[in-house]
């Protein structure tokens, strides 16, 4: 079944209309030596068989009832209306709104998305989103490079995958990357000051960082700006409901992983990278941007704008090649933010914060599980692990719990825990009981 409406007879008629007798004639331009006999793929299946098979495959994954793992992907409550609205076929089966007049709906949702990102980050200009948080960080690094300044400096307290992604982009571009060590679970600002030089285009930190700790972004900004470089802060969007915004901290760009804003875990994708900058850097921003203007009758109209930045105009002068992005995820994010609302997002953040604190205390009270760092944390924190972490993970998995992520810090076995609003106090109490048993 290949979803082709035209029947074999109709196809013959159509062939006749173009003066051909059989379909093979249409492929005569392909050298016969290159023409394929047949694909070695299984035969067609009915939808009924396909969904059966894929359900069986999905069944081989474990859906954990309880989850204390984050590290870049977060389980949150997703209101049902969010999923259903983002699933409206007009949104799902459209492409980039090149034809503004018949795409005002999509365009307006992107404009609203940009507004939400600006309001969350305090920045002036947001694009329509990039592939994911790590990609946003890499694009931000690229965006600030110029002939004079091409070096990127990254804190080693950022998520490893983000660092690895930035590294890939720098390596391909042939530009320098320096990594700054941490001290007590946060970026070592003295080391940073040394690393940032007059070749440095930008510095990237994460807020909260990989260990869950809230960095002193203001001081970091001072250090970075003193050297004439730009500060890019990768931030967790829900925490922005409560934490000082990148703008307030003096950052030049705010980027991050939008997944917590209404996207399911989905084994890592599709997610959403958000990017926002100050007005001054508006034209450096990669990706789509929607602007508000009017039509000849003076009606508000939304349109893709500032396209001179983009690959289809700048071509080989473009610093980014992004074309298709994650529009449906951006739509999801703006609907999520509107569904939770001004107070609701604060509630979610408050839950994360408070329950993480509660969990940290409960876990740290278990023998050998003390907190690894002292800094202020949002919804993630690191504890020591007195036994092999696999022992702990196995004990938890037996109870349907995905434990924190095992990490090794300076040779020490640790666990990076995550707690969000979906974790109940009972779950946390249960967790600490299981830990207690496991280390007995």
């Amino acid at each position: 079944m290949s979803y082709i409406p035209n029947t074999p007879d109709e196809r013959l008629d159509m062939l006749a209309a173009i003066g051909k007798r059989e379909i093979g004639e249409l492929f005569e331009c392909i050298p016969s030596s290159l023409r394929l006999d047949e694909l070695k793929l299984p035969g067609a299946k009915t939808e009924f068989e396909v969904i059966d098979k894929l359900s069986e495959i999905a069944g081989k994954n474990t859906v954990f009832k309880t989850c204390f793992r984050g590290a870049g992907a977060y389980r949150h409550f997703i209101p049902s209306a969010v999923k259903r609205l983002a699933a409206r076929e007009e949104f799902v089966t459209a492409y980039t709104p090149y034809q503004a007049e018949m795409s005002q709906g999509v365009l307006q949702t992107i404009f609203e998305y940009q507004s939400v990102i600006c309001r969350l980050t305090g920045m002036d200009v947001s694009n329509a989103g990039v592939y994911d948080g790590a990609h946003a960080a890499a694009e931000a690094a690229a965006m600030f490079k110029d002939r004079k300044r091409s070096k990127t400096v990254v804190s080693s307290a950022v998520r490893p995958m983000t660092l690895e992604t930035i590294r890939t982009y720098c390596a391909s571009a042939g530009s320098e990357l320096a990594v700054v060590p941490t001290k007590d679970g946060v970026t070592d600002l003295e080391a940073l000051a040394k690393a940032v030089d007059d070749k440095t285009a930008s510095v990237y930190i994460e807020q909260p960082n990989y260990f869950g700790i809230v960095e002193d972004a203001e001081k970091t900004a001072d250090v970075v700006h003193a050297a004439g470089a730009k500060l890019v802060v990768g931030c967790e969007p829900i925490s922005l409901a409560l934490l000082k915004t990148p703008a307030e901290s003096g950052a030049d760009a705010a980027v991050g992983e939008g997944q917590p804003l209404g996207m399911p875990l989905s084994f890592g994708g599709p997610y959403l990278g958000f990017m926002a900058v100050k007005s001054a850097d508006m034209r450096k921003l990669p990706g789509r941007i929607v602007g508000k203007t009017s039509d000849s009758k003076g009606r508000d109209a939304y349109v893709l704008t500032l396209q001179a930045r983009e690959q289809h105009i700048r071509r080989e002068k473009s610093s980014s090649s992004i074309c298709s992005n994650e529009a449906l995820c951006a739509l999801t994010a703006v609907i999520y933010c509107a569904a939770m609302g001004k107070e609701g997002l604060c509630d979610v953040a408050d839950h994360c914060l408070s329950k993480a604190r509660y969990a940290a205390e409960k876990i740290a009270a278990v023998k050998g599980f003390s907190l690894r760092f002292n800094g202020f944390f949002f919804n993630e924190f690191v504890t020591r692990c007195p036994v092999r972490s696999s022992v702990i993970m196995d004990a938890l998995e037996k109870e349907g719990i995905l434990g924190g992520l095992p990490v090794v810090i300076d040779g020490e076995e640790c666990i990076l825990w995550c707690v969000t609003e979906v974790n109940t106090r009972d779950e946390i109490d249960n967790l600490s009981n299981i830990l207690q048993e496991a280390v007995k």
């Binding site: 290949s2 082709i4 969904i51 709906g105 200009v125 994911d132 890939t168 090649s321 001004k342 109940t424």
Partner: protein, 475 residues
Amino acid sequence: MSELIFDKSKAGRRCAVIPCRDVAAVCVPERYRREVKAELPEVSEIDLVRHYTNLSRKSYGVDNGFYPLGSCTMKYNPKINEDAAELKGFTDIHPLQPESAVQGCLEVMHTLSEYLCEITGMEAMTLQPAAGAHGEFTALSMIKAYLLDRGETSRTKLIVPDSAHGTNPASANMCGFTVVNIPSTADGIVDIDALKNAVGGDTAALMLTNPNTVGKFEKNIEIIEKTVHDAGGLLYYDGANLNAVMGVARPGDMGFDAVHLNLHKTFATPHGGGGPGSGPVGCKAFLAKYLPNPVVKSENGIFSFERPEKSIGMSKSFFGNFLVCVKALAYIMTLGAEGIREAAENAVLNANYLQESLRGTYDIPFDGPCMHEFVVSLERLKRDTGITASDIAKGLIDRGMHPPTMYFPLVVHEALMLEPTETESRETLDSAAAALKDAIAAAYDNPQSLRDAPVSTPVGRPDETAAVRNPVLKA
């Protein structure tokens, strides 16, 4: 009417609420606290639902009608694929679960990779790239790593035909290559002489879309291949147009060393208003060790992740747009070997049928049989009537269809690029042809109607100049 969600906000309104906090409250110390709350909208659920339902009704997708957006393969997106991607066993899986707890996800990735290898004639595959352009960047990074690894530091040039999509040169630039543009022939294909002149010891690779963006198969592909390889360069295949040839011919067999695919085009995953897509990269064995980290391997029926020996690293977090991959896999399983080929055949048939229907009314700069798409030029029309490709496009909106791609490829002036795809019926093609002809007739009879078009939409043409001059980018 087109009020923003913010305009509908009223202090104190609530939509989704979460349970009461069941632990003690924690305060954010002042030095970390944001000064004022983010001004997110405050709306009730009914307002939320009406707002976005209404906006959806001001949008247009494949489910609403014909969408022959050339180069974008706006084929029908089967609903069963959405069901597959909504299975809890896929959506509720944390990407950092232990491998033993994600064997199903790994099986999906492994199976899809194998299928895509077979379809492209490649020997290894990564699903990590999130879109076509991302695939380009990834593959060029691999090529760069390979060249550096061999010490071929002087191979800094990427040859790109002038008909190439903008992402090609842009991705090349991101990877630090110098782009060498080569012209097309009057037939719309690679100018072999120009290519021969361009290649040399500094050639890293040629990026080629085949069939290319004017809808022609590069019939000299064997010469092209030899020319580039003989010069020590590599061949990169932009798979955006694979829908024309899948099951019929394979980039691998044509001699390409690396390829990206657009699952959101060729493999029927929905475009989502701009994304998410998925841009897997396939390569020949000698490039496999440069693939992004990680790849999935299978041993005795157990799947696991592995870092390729000389991996370029990650090009984004995790493993790609996984749910998009699930949809593409469901699609390939449904079509099977025969269906894949049939899709290509009928895509080409439909394009030729539509092209034939327009011949005489529309100028076809590169005439003759096309592959899955073709380009028409309205240069003459513009000269005769002042009506532009854009005017015709806007006129088509009033005639009930989504316009073709405009002004691309750049090598054709006043271009419209039509890609009907295989999932359109003959009736749809016939009525589109009628609309397309009617618009041309209007250019002569009533050009003002086209300049005023569209009138059937919630707004008319936006003032783009004003948008750029005085950017209003947020509320």
